[in-house]
């Protein structure tokens, strides 16, 4: 009940935006309430009281007072932004003024109500507003305006199937047209009015019939129920008679029982006993409850303890995680550093250009450090080149690779010193390498022991004899000559402990022709999963790729190979380290017989690494190099000593290259200065402006570098 009332109340608030709780209260009480509320901040209550008073005065036809309160209510509701209340009260005011025969005012308020109803799209209210406006205009004898509004109301009423409203509109229109002298239209509307009236009547009849039927049904149902009840009543009466009889019997019985007081006493005792039993049971229950409660408390305590424990464990785990994070960070940093060491040990890729200017090395470790490595060395007319693939990748692979590089260097250097480099053969190198790996890693036959080692392809290119000698552990070498692939297969055994460890490696030799392309590689590329079926690239496709591109410059081939790899791989992870190297034989700059042993080049360069690289390239020219680390040092050195050429870096501390060049050129314009610049037009311009004779863009292309120096020196 209460909920029902509350619901109704809420609905009422929603619809009228006012609490009708004072409906029962008389005007007097409300006026008192109003007095109390005036000046306070209880706006909602204030608005409600005004609305209520407006309503009550309206009921009493005290229109002025009603209008006053409603106007107030609108004011307050505007402050409260209660648009619903404003909308509805405007409608009330219209009706009040209509009743008070103040039609102009009525129209004004109906119009307010209309525009607000339009905003809210309250169609039924819109119809009422139009109709009310039409009525007001009729009273003012403004029949045209009245018709206009009546028609609006009519069309909406028909649209919404509001027959009563439509009927009223037609009547209004009929009256208006009569006054306007348009009898035809008037009678039309009147006919419509009658038709709708009849229709409504028939609908009402229908409704009445249905209701009558429903009532009849209800009556028959009730009658049935009543009959049933009557039957039951009969039964009850019968039962009562019987009960009466039983009562008599009981009375007789009780008389008999009175005589048996002892028995009663016994009965009482029994009752007492049961009462006692019940008490005991209750006590037991209470006891159980207490025990349970105790147990619960204990359990809670235990739970709390466990929670604490878990919390502690959590903290511990978090601590460990942080520690692990830190360790990971440290480890990564340490591996990053290991990479530096590895790249320092592996020969600088740039140096291979010195010997084969049409060559490339594509080297992509899967992790930070690599199990793949390339290696080369030049001794007299021999150029030894290897691509190796150690078991594992990452750190374990990198350890192996360091060992590999170190052993290869050792083998070559020993041979060069002890006997002669020409005694070295490719197979021989691998045999020695295998011995070293097995003995240093203490590899034995024992099963389940790691048999770390490496697969390798190794070539010795004799630039004078124009021969190539190959030995391989699993890995092959591919040579492409005039659209044909020559595959030199490696032996089926690794450089490590293996069943065939006592079988020596074999070698294959080949006469080289100018233009031969030699490729060495690890299995990283051919074993990479990818493509539409996520399969391995396979050597077959790798050969095809090389056949398609081998005629292009090697640097271009490098790009194409890398592009092919990444498009094959797609989103899949890189399986292993990837190493591919290629050189074109016969286009090597046969040393150019440069001999600058009587010349001195001053190198102004602040980065050690760059300096050593430059020296490495210049080594074969036998030129003497002087190293200064900034522009000022260069200026000072030139003032005291004779140099044949200055190789000038730009960004240096103390004095940059431009400034140094200007200074040197003003004091001695004849010293040629070659400036190293970034590839950018401004830098070229600036280099020229400062007086440099020429410039070479970084990264330095070694062939151009030597050419430029040759021109200047």
């Amino acid at each position: 009940m209460r909920i029902g009332y509350f619901k109704t109340l809420v609905l009422f608030i929603l619809v009228f935006g006012s609490i009708n709780i004072y409906a029962q209260t008389g005007i007097q009480a409300l006026e008192q309430k109003l007095e109390k509320l005036t000046g306070t901040n209880q706006k909602i209550d204030l608005a409600n009281v005004h609305t209520q008073l407006g309503n009550l005065y309206w009921q009493k036809s005290e229109f002025d007072k009603a209008a006053l309160h409603f106007t107030k209510a609108i004011e307050i509701n505007s402050e409260l932004n209660n648009s619903n209340a404003i909308r509805i009260i405007n409608g009330y005011l219209g009706l009040i003024y209509l009743e008070a025969e103040n039609y102009n005012k009525a129209i004004e308020y109906f119009n307010n109500s209309l525009s607000l109803n339009k905003v809210k799209n309250k169609k039924q209210e819109i119809i009422s507003d139009y109709y009310n406006i039409a009525s007001a205009y009729q009273y003012l004898n403004n029949f045209e305006e009245s018709n206009k509004n009546a028609k609006e109301a009519l069309s909406l009423a028909l649209e919404l199937d509001k027959l009563e409203m439509a009927k009223s509109c037609h009547l209004l229109l009929a009256e208006n047209y009569e006054k306007l002298g348009d009898s035809k239209k008037s009678s039309e509307h009147f006919t419509n009015y009658s038709t709708i009236t009849k229709h409504i009547q028939s609908l009402q009849m229908q409704q009445l019939k249905t209701e009558k039927q429903q009532i009849e049904q209800r009556i028959s149902k009730k009658t049935k129920e009543l009959n049933k009840a009557l039957d039951t009543l009969d039964e009850v009466v019968q039962q009562n008679i019987e009960i009466e009889k039983q009562k008599e019997a009981i009375e007789e019985l009780s008389k008999a029982q009175q005589k048996e007081f002892e028995m009663h006493d016994k009965l009482r005792k029994t009752q007492l006993f049961y009462a006692g039993l019940v008490l005991i049971l209750l006590a037991a229950l209470l006891f159980l409850f207490l025990i349970q409660n105790q147990a619960k408390k204990k359990a809670n305590k235990k739970l709390q303890e466990q929670n604490n424990e878990i919390e502690e464990q959590k903290k511990e785990i978090e601590k460990q995680r942080d520690l692990a994070d830190k360790q990971h960070e440290k480890l990564t940093a340490s591996i990053q550093y290991a990479r530096k060491i590895q790249s320092a040990v592996i020969p600088n890729a740039a140096i291979i250009h010195e010997h084969f200017n049409d060559s490339f090395i594509s080297y992509h470790p899967r992790d930070i450090v690599s199990g793949d490595f390339y290696w080369f060395v030049q001794k007299e007319n021999l150029f030894i080149l290897a691509a190796a693939d150690c078991t594992g990748h990452g750190v374990p692979g990198a350890f192996m690779s360091m060992l590999g590089v170190a052993y290869l260097n050792e083998i070559i250097n020993k041979a060069a010193v002890n006997v002669h480099i020409s005694t070295l053969n490719a197979d021989n190198i691998l045999n020695q390498l295998r011995d070293k790996v097995i003995s240093s890693l203490h590899q034995t036959e024992k099963k389940g022991e790691p048999k770390d080692g490496m697969d390798i392809a190794l070539c010795i290119i004799d630039t004078e004899q124009k021969t190539l000698e190959f030995a391989g552990a699993y890995n092959p070498a591919l040579i492409i000559r005039k659209n044909e692939i020559i595959e030199l297969k490696g032996d089926k055994m690794p450089v490590s402990f293996h069943k065939r460890k006592d079988i020596p490696f074999s070698k294959q030799s080949l006469k080289l022709e100018a233009g031969d392309c030699i490729y060495l590689f690890s299995d990283g590329f051919i074993d990479q999963f990818g493509g539409p079926y996520k399969r391995k690239f396979l050597i077959k496709n790798f050969k095809e790729l090389l056949l398609n591109i081998y005629q292009r410059p090697m640097q271009e081939q490098k790009t194409m190979i890398e592009q092919e790899f990444s498009s094959w791989k797609g989103n899949l992870p890189q399986v292993d380290d990837v190493l591919v190297m290629g050189i074109r034989f016969g286009k090597l700059d046969k040393k150019q017989e440069i001999n600058w042993s009587d010349k001195t080049i001053l190198i102004a360069e602040d980065t050690d690494m760059n300096y050593f690289l430059l020296v490495e390239v210049l080594k074969k020219t036998k030129v003497k190099t002087i190293w200064v680390k900034n522009g000022q040092e260069a200026v000072d050195y030139v003032a005291q000593n004779k140099v044949d050429l200055i190789l000038m870096d730009i960004n240096m501390p103390v004095m940059n290259g431009f400034e140094a060049t200007k200074k040197i050129k003003t004091s001695d314009p004849n010293i040629p200065i070659l400036m190293q610049t970034a590839i950018n037009h401004d830098a070229f311009e600036q280099a020229k402006e400062s007086g440099a004779d020429d410039f070479i863009p970084k990264p330095i292309d070694f062939k151009t570098f030597i050419e430029k120096i040759t021109k200047l020196i």
Binding site: C390, G392, G448, E449, P450
Partner: protein
């Protein structure tokens, strides 16, 4: 003997060792970070099996990819099978390979030569 089933992972192959059903299989990719950790239990099982093997053991190898360490590990596995054959029981290795993958076929032949075991080669597309 209790059967062994190891499900395939990103870097390890699927392994089935089931004496009752005469089903012995290793298939997929093998590139675990630590090869011995993965293969040691397999060796151990096979060594146990070697004590009382079936009259004929048919071992299927269907390797899509292996790193060089796994290459050696499989060699050791085949060595155990060769031991069974030496003890007088029949052993057959069925080498499954992608028909395009010449390297894998060659590897199979190499294993055959190394172990002296009876090999069947089945190429698939």
């Amino acid at each position: 003997m209790e059967a062994v089933f190891i499900g395939a992972q990103d870097d390890t192959p699927e392994v089935i060792l089931n004496k009752e059903e005469n089903k012995f299989e290793l298939s997929g990719k093998s590139l675990p970070e630590n090869v011995t950790d993965f293969y040691n239990p397999v060796y151990k099982w096979l060594e146990e099996y070697k004590k009382d093997p079936l009259e004929e053991t048919i071992f299927h190898l269907n390797i899509e990819y292996f790193n060089s360490a796994s290459h050696k590990a499989i060699n050791e596995l085949l060595d155990i099978l060769a031991g069974i054959e030496k003890a007088g029981k029949k052993v057959k290795v069925v080498w499954h390979f992608l028909r395009e993958d010449d390297d894998m076929l060659e590897t199979g032949h190499d294993y055959k030569n190394l172990t002296g075991l009876d090999f069947d080669f089945i190429g698939y597309d």
